[in-house]
């Protein structure tokens, strides 16, 4: 796994590449937590870009669920971006698509979360 986390104008983007298994899933969870806890803004939003993610194991998915909760506890939102078909399918199979929306790209995800925070509507992608 290669993980890069950067701050954009409207929130954080975590880019996750390669295979997310075993120790890497633990690391993904820890890094997302750190980012969310240390964010200076009041309601941090975070996008997880999985365009180059070969696959995540169930603990990697668990890390996303935990991050989704942590960010919510701070009044923020989380979403995926650029999810390939196989990851969208995985989210549907596990029904995590109900709690983790997916958008075609980082900008769309950040914009949608911003709009939602402001009370607007969002249009996530579906498989």
């Amino acid at each position: 796994m290669k993980l890069r986390i950067r701050q954009e104008e409207n929130g954080w983007v975590a880019q996750v590449e390669g295979k997310v298994i075993a120790q890497e899933s633990v690391k993904l969870g820890r890094k997302l937590e750190e980012t969310i806890l240390n964010a200076q803004e009041s309601s941090p939003n975070i996008v997880v870009n999985v365009a180059q993610t070969a696959y995540l194991d169930s603990q990697g998915l668990g890390a996303l669920v935990r991050a989704r909760q942590s960010v919510q506890a701070r009044g923020g939102l989380m979403a995926l971006s650029e999810a390939p078909q196989h990851i969208l399918r995985l989210l549907e199979i596990t029904k995590l698509s109900q709690i983790i929306p997916a958008y075609p790209n980082d900008a769309a995800a950040l914009k949608a979360m911003r709009a939602q925070a402001d009370g607007g509507a969002s249009t996530p992608t579906t498989a």
Binding site: K19, I21, A22, D57, L61, H86, K95
Partner: protein, 150 residues
């Protein structure tokens, strides 16, 4: 458990059926080696990248369960892996040295509040990736099967 007891019931290698077998200590750091072996094997058996990722991902779920639930992270206990190659299918067996469990009692992670749990999706994911997922009566040996391409 001795390796022999895992190996003995497996088919001997010949022209039509071949068996690859391995044992890994129960530590997270060895899981990628198991993953790499299964992935490479699947590719050599003409699964495409997507198919090989699915088989490797299912094997990782099985190995993580063996490591964490079965062997309780006791590094002196082994995760046994076998790959049985037949003309039309690949079978992966994963066995641990733990107490076993009853797969019928495992709760559906998609129902109710469980959607918010950060675990409980391994078996569901294996079922999605593989054609067949089954356990021996004791719940220490997992059998995963996927049809080979063409």
């Amino acid at each position: 458990m001795r390796f022999e007891h895992f190996i003995q019931p497996l088919p001997k290698s010949g022209e039509r059926v071949q068996t690859i077998a391995a044992a890994f200590p129960s530590a997270l750091k060895y899981v990628p080696a198991l993953e790499a072996m299964v992935h490479s094997l699947a590719r050599a058996l003409s699964f495409d990248e997507r198919g090989a990722n699915e088989i490797a991902a299912a094997a990782v779920e099985g190995a993580m369960n063996a490591l964490q639930h079965g062997n309780q992270k006791d590094i002196s206990k082994n995760i046994f892996l076998a790959a049985i190659v037949e003309p039309n299918r690949l079978t992966i067996k994963i066995k641990d040295e733990g107490a076993g469990f009853d797969v019928e009692k495992v709760e559906d992670p998609r129902e109710g509040d469980r959607i918010w749990k950060d675990s409980g999706r391994g078996i569901l994911i294996m079922r999605y990736y593989m054609d067949s997922v089954s356990y021996d009566p004791k719940g220490v040996e997992l059998t995963l099967v996927k049809k080979r391409p063409r």
